[in-house]
Symmetry: C2
Subunit: 284 residues, 2 copies
């Protein structure tokens, strides 16, 4: 509850302070706040105040915000997700610009849906007993056990099987799909042995409808591989060109859908895969 | 762009349809929308429409929303994060209840900050070249390489080292910290060998200030372990009681901060760890 603070004099005068205030983890306030702030080409100093779920904690948070306003000489921006009106009103009395996400949208939704909201604190990430949460944890374990072609067991349970050359982004994408969406994502590297045989790893043919390929430009690949094994044949531009070319030819030949990860974040890759693969169990 | 649809007649009349419309991945709209919707004890049918970044795609999305309104016989709820006014206004003409996150908050922020927003499409998750994104990918690789005490190398680079008995939640928490916050999180199991010696794994003493413990009730632990190895000594309630008790005594003795993961999600655990550990590199 005491965010680390660098001395005020070290902060450039232009960096506005932003608070994320929540009765839960603050992840919703922060995700949304970041998204809006990226629309401004300014630097922001960001402070999280999570688990503000009592009147005392709200008063303490309000005091911190007011102190920062005095130190900064300008009012902070406050993104808040507080479901209880009492806590929300304490924060709203601070010296700040208020982006009160729940108060803004929950009241109109109550009207639209014709029911009152439950005003349950910290609900969105306090979900340990839910089926969805259990699926996510199970998916993380599955994706870890099926990382980098480690295991052929239970591939029938996979929602997606990613293939691509080493360091094309398969592992972080698999873990993101599991963690964010509860998708069981296995991944298999395409290696020179596969190119010589001219075939996918044989365990995969049975599940071809679940395969999705990642590729990458040889130029970016050589950069990434050189960070790990500088100067190796593995990382050389010639070898990267060879592997990428062979992998793309194989994916074309086998009719595998694929995309290039070169300029895409794991969030963008995952969203595209969900649209293409449409795992059975849910809608996306 | 064609979300999978179950036949309308299979949907209960009470399930309101919700669209998440975005020019990027839709993750911000969805995170925020879920958070608000959990405040209502209703079932919702959720459809994502990501990458709506041209007029044609916006018109296509609008058509889908209108069709769904007609099929449902009630207007859908629409959470949208569209930074371009032209696209936003196409969606706003749909038959729906509009929760336009950017239009609601960006304009007041422009006034407050005294600068225009950039209106850059899909910016929040299109960040491959940023330092922050590279840190996240590096942290994922670090956390994977240091999962379950696999490696003692580079522990000095770890931001956090999680310890706890097997299946107390260390692995998913480490990966979440890495993926969401770019935190390099190693994790070490506390095992019967450690309890007999009465000491932490020796590689850890040097880094005691970065250690954080997870514990869990023996009752929950036996459940989780029985899912993996039913009927084993490892999973028995007696053994779980023994291990949990020993681990908690060791953490007390060594002055290690810890929390119980029993009823907490990986989001809640991670947020608490960030508050306690305060990794050097950033503020949280």
């Amino acid at each position: 509850m005491t965010p680390e603070q660098s001395p005020a004099e070290q902060r450039p005068a232009t960096a506005r302070t932003v608070f994320f205030v929540s009765d839960g983890t603050g992840i919703t306030a922060e995700t949304f706040g970041h998204s809006v702030l990226t629309q401004f080409e300014l630097r922001f100093r960001q402070i999280r105040l999570p688990f503000i779920d009592t009147v005392d904690k709200a008063r303490d948070a309000a005091r911190k915000i007011n102190e920062m306003a005095a130190v900064d000489g300008q009012r902070p921006i406050i993104f808040s997700t507080l479901v209880q009106a009492e806590l929300s009103s304490i924060i709203r009395q601070c010296n700040g610009m208020h982006m009160d996400l729940f108060q803004t949208f929950v009241a109109p939704l109550e009207l639209e849906l014709g029911v009152k909201s439950t005003h349950t604190i910290g609900r969105s990430h306090n979900i340990v007993d839910s089926e969805e949460y259990k699926n996510r944890i199970e998916a993380i374990n599955f994706s870890l056990a099926h990382d980098d072609g480690q295991s052929h067991r239970n591939l029938a349970d996979a929602d997606v099987i990613l293939v691509g050359v080493s360091r094309s982004g398969k592992t972080p994408t698999s873990l993101y799909l599991a963690m964010q969406y509860g998708i069981k994502a296995a991944n298999y590297p395409l290696i020179p042995d596969d190119f010589e045989r001219g075939k996918l790893p044989s365990a995969l043919y049975e599940f071809k409808n679940k395969i999705f390929g990642l590729t990458i430009t040889p130029e970016r690949l050589t950069e990434i591989r050189n960070e790990r094994r500088a100067g190796s044949k593995y990382a050389s531009i010639e070898n990267c060109r060879y592997e990428v070319n062979e992998a793309e030819m194989m994916m074309k030949r086998e009719g595998i859908r694929w995309l290039s990860s070169t300029t895409k974040s794991i969030e963008e890759i995952s969203t595209t895969i969900l649209q293409e693969i449409k795992p059975n169990r849910r809608e996306y």
